[in-house]
Amino acid sequence: MDLSANIAGLTLKNPTMLASGVLGVSRASLKNVIGHGAGACVIKSISLEARAGHNAPNIITFEAGAINAVGYSNPGVDAAKEEFSNLKELGSPVVASIIGKNADEFAEMAERFLSDEFAAVEAVLSCPHTPGYGTLAGQNTPENTEKITKAIRKKTDLPVFIKISPDSNPIGEVARAAEAGGADAIVAVNTMGPGMVVDIQTGQPILDFKMGGVSGPALHPIAVRCIYDIHKATKLPIIGCGGVTFGKDAIEMMMVGASAIQIGTGIYYRGIDVFKKVTDEIAEFMQRKGYNKLDGFIGLTHKLEE
């Protein structure tokens, strides 16, 4: 059985990827995640300057998922460039993740940070809880999406992935704007919301930033619908992200059009070997259904409509 996934020229030994911002803060942590079965890794998002991020609590979990407001803590482009070296030795492709306050910053990030250490670059236009970035800076509109994508496209030959917000509306237009800007794939989706949890003993919002992006099971059906809509709107390959905990969640995303999937919060629920577990569950499903490769069911939901 062939479990390999293809996205925009990348070949992954299996379709599970580490989502940005979860664990991937250092080369060593990527190696550890790859050792637990990840077909590829996205590093934690990097900005020009070092950022301490929001104070803690940065993450809480609730009945239906997790809420985080890490606030893009990262050591800045220069330290990160040192940190993320010799990545080819790690055994699975590593994707850079970059953020910027505007198209120029994204371009500068691409220029200063990217090298062929990385298999691709993911540009994040969609964080719902960091002032100056993502949806709080309006980066999720079709216009800004196209503009930022173009700016990055000019500065790199790596495949460019645009990571979009589930709160983009209509999401198909945002995906088409990325396509128009020269993107090679869409990552759908970032966290949604933001959401807020209040400690009723004190009346205080628990996250220090008060609100944060919602991930995990709560996000999953919305991510599936986003992928479904994006697949209708563009021909770009899609990397699904949002609430993948079990193999079935990954399979759903592939059926509505994803070529590969990312996992973040799933690590909380199933451990760091969630990559291996999800891959095994996909393999079991394929065995039972008689599929030899992922293409057998990628996009199936759309084919059934024809």
């Binding site: 979860v22 250092s26 942590s29 803690a56 979990t61 949890v197 003993q201 004190t202």
Partner: protein, 275 residues
């Protein structure tokens, strides 16, 4: 398929029940609740609109949790203004713990600063199972030594070093501990304190082929195993999950152990020998 979804981890706001001043810089905060932890595990404490920080568990018995906390910066300074009855949030326990085997006859524990706290609970369990415990503490002077009374009650052999000689041997806990390791036959050495101190003893244990366990503190933002801030160079493993307590053998394989750690932003900060 197991169904792990639905797990909820949020701080529980609890009133401070009692505050005990241990030394000039350390207070123990008690709460009316037991958490079923194991020695070496930690809690994460939340002060709303201030921050959330990890602290080892000093007491978790008789319906009480106790955390021994040194005042070092904004969070702990704020906490030191708190009175009995004030609310703080707590979640945990998190992380790995010190492992004690029933067949251990004699062990050494080496505590530096608030690192003495989790070892005291471990000592209690060791003594209860008939293991002899030599307990080595060090500080600048007598009045900074932690848990003298507690350790007497537990019934360990206290071995003490102070830099000014005001109690026990004059000198450092490191030298004292390493001398003990040379002199005595220990089934295991347990170390919890400043990382450079830890490293020197772990290296000595390795040279002498004595088993040891050590607690490795790294910057922690979540304790959930998600943020990655506590991942250690070497294995890349999470010190909030696979750590903080590891074997000495494991610790020595980690390139950053005793060398550097990562700040809140992820920038490297090197340890400086200021002993």
């Amino acid at each position: 398929m197991e169904n792990p979804i639905g797990k909820i981890e949020q701080p529980i706001s609890l009133p401070i029940k009692r505050i005990v001043r241990e030394t000039e810089h350390i207070k123990t905060f008690f709460f009316n609740r037991e958490f079923g932890s194991k020695p070496g595990q930690f809690m994460i404490m939340w002060i709303p609109r201030v921050n959330e920080k990890p602290f080892s568990i000093a007491y978790d018995e008789n319906g009480e949790l106790g955390l021994s906390i040194a005042v070092v910066g904004p969070f702990t300074e704020k906490l030191f203004t708190f009175k009995e009855g004030d609310l703080v949030g707590l979640r945990g326990p998190y992380g790995s713990w010190f492992k004690l085997k029933p067949e251990y006859k004699k062990v050494l524990m080496v505590g530096g600063g608030y690192g003495t706290a989790p070892l005291a609970t471990l000592a209690q369990q060791a003594v209860a199972q008939g293991t002899v415990v030599d307990f080595c503490r060090g500080a600048h002077s007598k009045n900074l030594l932690l848990f003298g009374k507690r350790l007497n009650e537990i019934g360990v052999n206290k071995i003490t070093a102070t830099h000014d000689g005001s109690e026990g041997t004059q000198g450092s806990a490191v030298n004292l501990a390493n001398d003990q390791i040379d002199k005595e036959q220990y089934d295991c050495v347990y170390i919890c304190g400043p990382e450079l101190m830890e490293k020197k003893i772990v290296v000595h244990c390795a040279e002498k082929k004595v088993l040891c366990q050590v607690s490795i503190e790294r910057h922690m933002k979540c304790g959930f195993g998600l943020c990655g801030q506590c991942c250690i160079d070497g294995s890349g493993e999470r010190m909030c999950k696979e750590g903080p307590v590891t074997t000495g053998e494991y610790a020595l394989k980690q390139k950053e152990f005793g060398a550097y750690h990562r700040s809140k932003s992820g920038l490297l900060e090197y340890f400086h020998d200021d002993h």
